[in-house]
């Protein structure tokens, strides 16, 4: 028999001003199964909680209803109190008399009656509650970091320095990402490589970090604390253990005209190559698509010249499976190429560049060793035009969002140009200057006032070539919308930052959600910016939205912090409010008929197939099983189940039906 205790709270006068609390307690005392019913001024206070604890002990209560404020406010408080008195916390329910009754209705009979109804609902529910116990899941204290740009590097180092293992997967032959391509960084004009390369080396040398470069994540199964990741290590055709990194092979390779990805096509590389001199690991790979041997079956010059005999043409791709407890996605972004812009020449003018290409020109390690020279004829541009928002903030032409980093890097580019070409003239066409950030506005001001960069507020409608000059036709909206025509030697487009081409596929592999632009979605835009909706998978850097370096680093450290919290215990506990498939004695085993309608309905891939076998191992029946590590407790499967075989703990069919019946009970 149920022995329920009801505790009606006045909440000072918050409830008692409109609800007659004593009457509610009296009425509740008459409900079947209620053996104890009192009202008190502050149920959440220490004396109030004591009343609950004492009643549980003295009256041997099997369930508690606290009729006070919203359960979203004090449910943990009262459940804790019950638990202290030896009652399973999930046998405590709250009737919301404050937010849903006393605060929203006038004083009167109807309001008190509604309060009584609300209590009756919860009494009927709690009678059907079952004791539940937190779910414990073991945790593998190894994190997988996908992407080796600055965000991935920061996350990996923070996790590793926290004493946990990290496996880093990078698609390219070297880690470093876009930051390694940059010349200087705003707003300090620090050399990007100087601050980044020590971090790259640290990753390679850290005892807690295993680095897989030239590798891709191809599968992820499991759940928080217990993932299994499948990684494809693409064949480098070089035995890394033997290779000394002397790079002799790269000087002898006959394929010398492959556009260098690192130099954004402005420089050339060989087929066996190290992307850049400071690469980590600093060992070459063979690009099979361009290698003469792989294409024609002849050449092997690299093999002949290699003093360590490290070339392995027959090396296969390798699939590794690793167990990890958490994943940090840090796959970064890419940008629109100049060919995306019809009005700026469909990419056919060699001296119309993207911002990243300009970075390479300005970089001391770039194809021109830091001199700003035109790709077409090598001349130093006397006049240069920068166009911001190329594709950004313009749904008709590209994307509606702001790419965020461009205003600042354009100011930096113009500054770098003025520092390198003293007599040069630079123009920036802009819509707005968005320089929110520490020392950012000051930086832009410096470009305008000290370096005499001409900022023109207006858009550029067309660029075309005439007699070796790029004619830039635009408008100056601050000068009476006057048409402006500039004969430029070079134009730099701050092209829109976009998600990586493989982002959608990766999101599907990882079962995380992504937005319409294929950026990965955070669990909550304000309060959970580094988590995804899938427990145990975190986000860092520009793969979530465009970010500059400090923001990427901050988010990466945030994600690493979350991972380290998760790894701080060997088990993690979760609320048991999850779905379960019923099980019973043979020959039924379960009412589940194995239709698996629930499977596609589950947003978390938590429904598994379970085979029930007899002693000889023969499969008798296949039924659904809910993976308690993955289930988040939404209950969508419950409504889908035709045989009512899945139920959700805490919101069972029986419980909600009892509530509905109690509401409609005739008085």
């Amino acid at each position: 028999m149920a022995r329920i205790g009801v505790f009606v709270c006045h909440c000072g006068e918050n409830i008692s001003a409109t609800v007659e609390c004593d009457k509610v307690a009296q009425a509740a005392a008459g409900f079947p199964g209620v053996v104890h019913s009192i009202d008190y001024k502050y149920m959440c206070s220490d004396p109030g909680q004591n009343m609950i604890r004492e009643a549980i002990r003295e009256k041997n209560l099997t369930g508690v209803v606290v009729a006070s404020c919203s359960p979203r406010m004090h449910e943990p408080t009262f459940r804790q109190a019950c638990s202290e008195a030896g009652l399973n916390p999930f046998l405590c329910e709250m009737a919301n008399l404050r937010e849903h009754c006393s605060w929203v209705h006038e004083k009167g009979e109807a309001t008190t009656k509604k309060a009584i109804d609300l209590v009756r609902m919860m009494v009927e529910k709690v009678k059907r509650n079952q004791p539940l116990y937190p779910i414990r899941v073991p945790v593998t204290k190894t994190a997988l970091v996908v992407g080796g740009g600055i965000a991935g590097i920061q996350a990996a180092l923070d996790i590793a320095n926290g004493g946990n293992k990290v496996i880093m997967v990078e698609r390219e032959p070297s880690i470093g990402g876009h930051m390694s391509q940059l010349s200087e960084t705003f707003p300090t004009l620090d050399c990007s490589q100087c601050i980044l390369t020590p971090r790259m080396v640290e990753v390679a040398q850290h005892p807690n970090i295993t680095l897989y470069t030239y590798a891709e994540l191809i599968g992820l199964d499991g759940f928080i604390g217990n993932f299994k990741a499948k990684i494809r290590k693409k064949a480098k055709s070089v035995d890394e253990k033997i290779c000394t990194g002397c790079a002799l092979c790269t000087t002898k390779c006959p394929q010398k005209k492959i556009p260098s990805e690192f130099n954004e096509g402005l420089g050339k590389r060989t087929a066996i190559y190290v992307p850049f001199p400071q690469a980590v690991p600093n060992k070459p790979v063979i690009d099979k698509d361009h290698c003469t041997y792989y294409k024609t079956g002849k050449c092997k010059i690299c093999e002949k010249v290699c003093p360590a005999q490290a070339i392995r043409f027959d090396q296969p791709d390798e699939i590794v499976e690793v167990a990890v407890g958490a994943v940090v996605i840090a796959t970064g972004f890419t940008i629109h190429q100049t060919g995306f812009f019809p009005e700026y020449g469909y990419g056919r003018y060699p001296d119309v560049l993207t911002g990243l290409q300009f970075e390479r020109l300005a970089s001391a390690s770039g194809p021109t060793l830091g001199e700003i020279r035109r790709p077409s004829d090598g001349k130093i541009p006397e006049t240069i035009v920068f166009i911001s928002c190329a594709g950004s903030r313009d749904p008709a032409k590209g994307i509606e969002y702001c790419s965020k980093i461009c205003c600042m890097y354009i100011a930096k580019h113009a500054m770098l140009y003025q520092h390198k070409v003293h007599h040069g003239k630079s123009y920036v066409f802009y819509m707005d200057i968005r320089a929110g950030g520490k020392m950012y506005e000051e930086f832009v001001r410096r470009a305008i006032t000290e370096d005499q960069v001409n900022y023109v507020r207006g858009r550029v409608s067309k660029i075309y070539e005439r007699d070796g000059k790029l004619i830039v036709k635009g408008v100056d909206t601050l000068m009476g919308a006057e048409a402006v025509e500039i004969e430029a030697d070079m134009v730099v487009l701050a092209t829109a930052g976009i998600a990586n081409p493989g982002a959608e596929e990766l999101a599907q592999t990882l079962h995380v959600s992504y937005d319409g632009h294929h950026f990965f979605s955070e669990a909550h835009p304000k309060l959970r910016p580094v988590e995804t909706n899938t427990a145990g998978i975190f986000l860092a850097g520009a793969c979530q939205a465009l970010k500059d370096i400090p923001e990427s680093v901050a988010q990466a450290s945030g994600a690493a912090g979350k991972v380290n919290i998760l790894f701080s215990k060997s088990e993690l506990t979760r609320e048991p409010l999850i779905a379960v498939v019923n099980r019973s004695a043979p020959p039924e085993y379960s009412t589940c008929v194995g239709c698996f309608l629930c499977q596609p309905a589950c947003p978390y891939q938590a429904i598994e197939k379970e085979e029930i076998k007899d002693r000889s191992g023969k499969v008798i029946k296949t039924v659904a099983r809910v993976n308690p590590g993955l289930c988040q407790g939404c209950g969508t499967c419950v409504a889908f189940c035709r045989s009512k075989s899945i139920d959700i703990q805490g919101y069972t069919h029986e419980q909600v039906l009892a509530e509905v019946m109690a509401v409609l009970e005739n008085d």
Binding site: S70, R98, V104, T111, K114, N533, P603, V638, Y651, V663
Partner: protein, 151 residues
Amino acid sequence: MENKIFEPKIVAFVCNWCTYAGADLTGTSRIKYAPNVKIVRFPCTGRIDFMLLLKAFGEGADGIIVSGCHPNDCHYTSGNFHARRRWISFRSLLDFLGIDTGRITFSWVSAAEGAKWAALVNDTVSRIKELGPYTDYEKVARYYEEEVNHE
């Protein structure tokens, strides 16, 4: 009884994350609304088995509100879409049973829409008052007993 003003009985089926929290906000904002509605809390509108709505009608509810997170805002990513789809097909069952679909309000109320919740309740209450008490519930109860329970 006949001289008494008709006060409809309305059951609200709401999700924990948006509409329940939205109704909490109505409270914290002290916005008044009619006391005819009682809320049953679910983790998500995707959890709501719509046969439960039928059961509520069978037990004498005059009106029902179903409300969850706005599309794309579901705490569980897609539960509200399932609920919306179910609602679309459930409507034709109501038509078949001869229950006025106007007795059900299907809506989205976010955790920030306290005022919307109050307005939604008041609108529903006044609409149900116009429709009058739901008297055919025995018929539904019979259907529920015969068809649903003996499935």
